[in-house]
Amino acid sequence: MIFFFLLLFLVLVSQIAELFIPALPWLYSAHVYIVPVIVFYGAMALPFPLMLALAFYAGVLLDALTVQVIGDKVEVSAGSSILLYGVLAGIMHGLRPLFARGHWEVHCILSGIFTSLIVLAQYLMITFRRGSLVFTREIWWQIGAPGIIAMLVAPFVFWLLQWLGRMTAYPYSPERGRFE
């Protein structure tokens, strides 16, 4: 359980840190997202109920920070990030035997793809509200680049979290799907 609470703490810290990381002007003002990588690692390392709890927690934080209420209009409904994290973390959770057998690369690539999917889903939601579906080169970069960055940082984050799991003597076996 210590490891689970450690993940909750890391999600909070990363979410706050993201507010202070400026957009990258040399990469079409793309943003850096670390939280999804931590959540996707948690999805593989935690049992199903705790995975849902982590996805819920990260979703609430993301919702609180991204949902915009302008006048009487809500652009992206509260709960949408919880749903996104829940579904994507669920897919990741299903692939945990691969991870347990040492195939990190699949999950690193998927972390990147899923991070971009979150940004794409937000874009589609605001487009639905504002109208005029536009996909320019800049938009594709702003959707794709956070995924590429997440893919690049994922091996380091996964290694760090794996190490933290060992340090806290975390007993859950992802391959067997139960605590040892």
Binding site: P25, F48, L52, D63, V69, V74, A78, G79, I82, Q142
Partner: protein, 280 residues
């Protein structure tokens, strides 16, 4: 026959605990999805209020890191310039850097104080503590909230011009929707003409200085680069006479004219701002 295909739930990968967890998750998700605008606003402001201490201290930490980094950069340049006087120069540079920071701070605050005194508006001084981390919205967080007299839909300015308006207000911090956001719409008039239109940001901006669009102008407007655009006061949120930006280009569209503006304020380097609470 039926009993032969009725597997125990645990064998098909879903234990009773997992199903219960999934049901609870679904129920809470449904509850969140049912939030209306006012509940969402309360939820957002509540979470921001909880995060306020972290945001404020994070902002201070970021300033310190930036200051140290710029100091180290000077030292590095100094090393290349004169290796013989390296040690002595390093000390002098460090002292100068510290003094320069203080001088910059004094100038900044004096500038802000002067503006506040000569302004025709009642102003609340605020500091930017965080910027929006998301891709699609352009907002900043300021360290003033309901306790300081800030309310929703109050204009936010600097001595150079309009920045945006407050959207979510909690007790000690508020979120400001920048004028460069597509959702921030400001009724505007053009200096030296009778033209009026609506200024809004663009959905996607990639540069450090995003452009603004002035829409719904007449086709005959023929605005010239350099003409200033001010708030017209229509709509009730923004008082008239606040500088929004300067015309960069003008084009005629099928139904109306549209001008692109350069914002009067450098939105990428905001430090101190003022919330307009009314006129004096």
């Amino acid at each position: 026959m039926l009993s032969a295909i009725r597997y125990p739930v645990s064998e098909i990968g879903m234990s009773r605990t997992n199903i219960i967890a999934l049901l609870i998750f679904g129920a809470i998700l449904g509850y969140f999805l049912s939030f209306g605008p006012s509940t969402t606003q309360k939820f957002k402001s509540g979470v921001y209020q909880l995060l306020a201490p972290f945001l404020t201290s994070g902002s201070g930490l970021k300033k310190q890191i930036t200051s140290v980094r710029s100091g180290l950069k000077s030292l590095d340049q100094l090393e290349h310039e004169n290796s013989a006087l390296q040690v002595e120069n390093r000390e002098l540079r460090a002292t100068n850097q510290g003094l320069r920071d203080v001088e910059h701070e004094v100038n900044r605050l004096r500038h802000a104080l002067n503006y506040r005194e000569r302004s025709v508006f009642k102003l609340i001084a605020a500091e930017i503590v965080a910027r929006d981390s998301s891709t699609w919205w352009r907002t900043v967080t300021i360290n003033r909230g309901r306790r300081d007299g800030v309310e929703t839909d109050m204009p936010v300015v600097t001595d150079e011009g309009l920045i945006g308006k407050t959207t979510t207000v909690s007790d000690s911090i508020s979120i400001v929707l920048l004028v460069s956001d597509e959702n921030c719409r400001v009724a505007a008039s053009v200096e030296g003409s009778r033209e009026q239109g609506i200024v809004s940001g663009e959905r996607v901006t990639t540069g450090l200085t995003p452009l603004l669009d002035l829409n719904f102008l007449s086709k005959q407007a023929d605005l010239k680069p350099g003409q200033k655009v001010y708030t017209s006061g229509v709509g009730g949120v923004f008082p008239s006479g606040l500088l929004i930006g300067v015309v960069k280009s003008f084009r005629v569209r099928e139904l109306d004219g549209q001008a692109q503006l350069t914002s009067a304020v450098d939105l990428s380097h905001l430090e101190d701002v003022f919330v307009v609470t009314g006129r004096r």
